[in-house]
């Protein structure tokens, strides 16, 4: 008999309540996206929900944006997308890279130290982003550094650390020390034991951290709004000027397109890190 947290064979009220709450959660997460996706296929010029007829015309417009772009005047959507991707990749690699050893040290360290550190690494979440954005900008300008793409990457890294660390720590919680000790007793060096035993077991948490870093950086708006320059800009900044002026179906089609890009990235990361059919 398989015993899980969500029993399949017998469950009664327990299973019912759990499923109900989970479905509620799914609805809250997905409903706006579903509506927006439906609307993006509308054939009508203006927005009425649900649309009377459907078409792909707005996606045609999005494709046009990327292919025969206006050579002049507007910021390039292609450049912005590339910048967003590069920043997101940098942020993902660095934030996860620094959080894995920290999570290990905290999980194996003293409880009080761990709690303090967790709190410290929650801080980036607590400050309102507008305040952080302007502080980063003031500091960057007073140092007069030409940071290029790091203008955006450095604040993003700080911003995703809470998510990455929490996920790595949660994963560490389940890994018992005995496993490591067993590996060491079989002749592995402590580092070897970490690499061969602990890291693979942490994979779920690491992966979740990577994906969070990727998504948050790729879609971050508020801090980026202060830090971007006319030469180094990102996709959400580009997108902003479109959504302020109007919420026409082409904007919605673009949103769906961005969601698709995100999902593609997530699946890619999943495949690369987790291997086939693993984990999430």
């Amino acid at each position: 008999m398989r015993v899980g947290l969500l029993p399949t064979d017998r469950g009664g009220s327990y299973r019912f309540v759990i499923m109900l709450l989970a479905i509620l959660g799914i609805l809250v997460s997905a409903l706006p996206v579903v509506v927006v996706t439906i609307m993006s296929f509308s054939a009508a010029e203006t927005s009425g929900f649900p649309p009377e007829s459907y078409s792909l015309r707005w996606y045609g417009e999005v494709a046009r944006l990327f292919t025969n772009e206006d050579s002049s005047s507007a910021q390039s959507v292609v450049d912005s997308t590339v910048t967003s991707l590069v920043v997101a990749l940098i942020v993902m690699v660095i934030s996860t890279g620094v959080c894995i050893p920290l999570a290990y040290a905290l999980a194996r360290g003293e409880r009080r130290v761990r709690e303090g550190m967790e709190l410290l690494f929650t801080l980036p979440l607590v400050f309102p982003l507008v305040m952080l954005g302007i502080a980063f900008l003031l500091i960057a300008e007073s140092l007069k550094l030409e940071l290029g793409i790091w203008r955006i990457a450095i604040p993003h890294i700080a911003l995703v650390l809470p998510f990455v660390l929490r996920n790595c720590l949660s994963a560490m919680n389940g890994i018992s020390v005995e496993l490591e000790e067993a590996a060491i007793s079989l002749g592995a060096s402590p580092m070897r034991a970490i690499w061969d035993v602990v890291i693979p077991l942490m994979k779920a948490g690491i992966l979740a951290g990577l994906i969070f870093a990727l998504i948050i950086s790729f879609n971050e708006f508020t801090i980026t709004f202060f830090m971007y320059t006319i030469d180094v800009s990102t996709l959400p900044i580009w997108m902003y000027s479109r959504t302020v002026s109007s919420l026409d179906p082409s904007t919605l089609a673009l949103s769906v397109f961005i969601i698709a890009a995100d999902v593609l990235l997530i699946v890619l990361v999943d495949k690369l890190i987790a291997g086939k059919g693993n984990l999430f």
């Binding site: 997460s29 706006p32 579903v34 809470p162 969070f212």
Partner: protein, 284 residues
Amino acid sequence: MSTTTLSKGQALAFAAPAFIAILPFLVACVYILRFSLSAEQGVIEGISIRAYQELMTPFFGRSVWLTLKLAFIATVIVMFMAVPLAFLLTSLRGSFARRLLTVTILLPLILNLLVQAYGWILLLGPSGALNTLLKSLGLIERPLFLLFNETGVLLGLVQTSLPLAVFPIVSAVRGISKEHLEAASSLGASNWRILRDVSLPLLRPALVGAASIVFAFNASAFAIPLLLGGRRVQMMGVAIRDMISPLFNWSGAAAAGMILILLTLFVLVVSAWLVRVTTVKTKG
């Protein structure tokens, strides 16, 4: 030699890269603290607590209370949905279903908030799909106002912070050893009892971690109250944004930011302490 605890040097070496990564943020924190003590509104000059004094109004007090209240309620609701979602996610066997569910939960982080708010208006607005349906069924006469008030803000907060809670819990659920559950189950404990006596206590660190991240995230929210609160719900994030621009009272914004950060930290520390106290009790 003990492998279970790292030496001080090792621990430091393991933690150092993360400290370098968070350093720019800590510099920004110190900068904000310094700014909050500036005697001028727009630049750092002189030392004064004027910015703090000017915040001591009943209006700001109400805003602080509202912020903590909404962040707390949203956190509770989120936890009630996140745990079942984590259970569901870990019990799905097909990898496609698992991926689909993961992506679905992540959606609120991906989609532009303005566009999401637009989706909610189409659904729950005064003339949205829900109100139209209820009206045509004859259940209501006047539209239900679900947006542009505290309900709308709560909905938005829950939605955007749900993914932050689900994934740490998922990682922890994976870590619960099946033996624990099987043992409890073979002793004839009901599902509810297993949940109360075995699963939840084992998940406790992850639950606290998830809840605190959600609370902190929600307490500093500003886009959601602007878009789904119709600006009628004065959370602190909104007040701070207004002070940055167009009021250009940056020292005031910094002071409000410091107050928010201290309150949030206080709540987090107290909740961590409460959990520790209760854990010790149950263990004893």
